[in-house]
Symmetry: C2
Subunit: 146 residues, 2 copies
DNA sequence: TACATATTTAAATTCATTACAATTTAATTT
DNA sequence: AAATTAAATTGTAATGAATTTAAATATGTA
């Protein structure tokens, strides 16, 4: 089953009309688990849907959020990011390459009695393993070169 | 020791010039552990500092962040919030009363090997204990009244 | 087909944050 | 003390993602 079919099936499950735009937005999110921005989605879909409006992307993603088809990731303080993976997981943004990585996490919160938790967002920032390696290599080259 | 003195001491520790504005912004944060917005701080200090500029609040908070005197809380997707408590703790925002509560948290993250973590932000949303009680009381009244 | 409803579009607006140049204040040097 | 330099503060304008509005288009049903 390709992403288009998967998106269509998910929309039908939720009782949401599976319009072309909705299918394509959801399929894009499923096939690009990189936490894209509205702009990313817009620019990608625009190529094949010439009259596409950015407002529609916003509306569609709002609808998806209400239906728990996507979750909003606010780790990047500039733009919102969207994730079709709605299972519990944390997000790590690299300060070098800006990439956002998923990670599994288990938390214990002793002092929230009587609180009703609706959503959890766990955001870490730092240097990803890849960029860390690159930095070390660069450092080694320098010390060898001199 | 009052908050003004505490703020002054903290600034001196960091080797930052303890100007009147800086002392007052930091003292406000120390005395209002409610995660205020820039607007909150600005409106409060404006009363005693007539020519205060909002830009200065932004600049001051940026400086504080660099010096690890405050941490930025991005739980409220509209406005940034600031916290003079820089120790590890999570934040819970009530969807009813909008209040932001601190909570202690312990997390294990098995799959981030080689990643260098610089900052952690843990945001929960839902209904706080107080609002939860209020809602239940309202429900009881209704069922008794009818 | 006709009509109501849902979806999509484009333009205008909002508003927190940032950029920047000008001014004021404080520290350092003559 | 005066002059010079550096730092802090101010006000205005610009930025840009997100929202609002209203109009256009598509879709389902009778
Ligand atoms: Mn994810
Ligand atoms: Mn806090
Ligand atoms: Zn990286
Ligand atoms: Zn509450």
């Amino acid at each position: 089953m390709d992403y288009i079919e998967a998106a269509q099936a998910l929309l039908q499950e939720k009782g949401v009309r599976a319009s072309t735009i909705r299918i394509n937005v959801l399929a894009y999110l499923l096939s690009h688990p990189t936490h894209p921005t509205v702009e990313h989605i817009y620019q990608a879909l625009r190529k094949s849907m010439l009259t596409l409006s950015k407002t529609t992307i916003y509306n569609t993603l709002d609808l998806f959020q209400q239906q728990n088809l996507v979750r909003v990731i606010n780790i990047d303080e500039k733009e919102m990011r969207y994730d079709a993976n709605t299972t519990e997981h944390g997000h790590f943004q690299c300060q070098e390459c800006k990439a956002i990585t998923d990670f599994t996490i288990r938390c214990s919160t002793p002092d929230l009695p009587g609180f009703q938790i609706a959503t959890r967002n766990i955001y870490y920032r730092g240097i990803c393993a890849e960029c860390q390696t690159k930095k070390e290599e660069l450092l080694n080259e320098k010390s060898n070169g001199n």
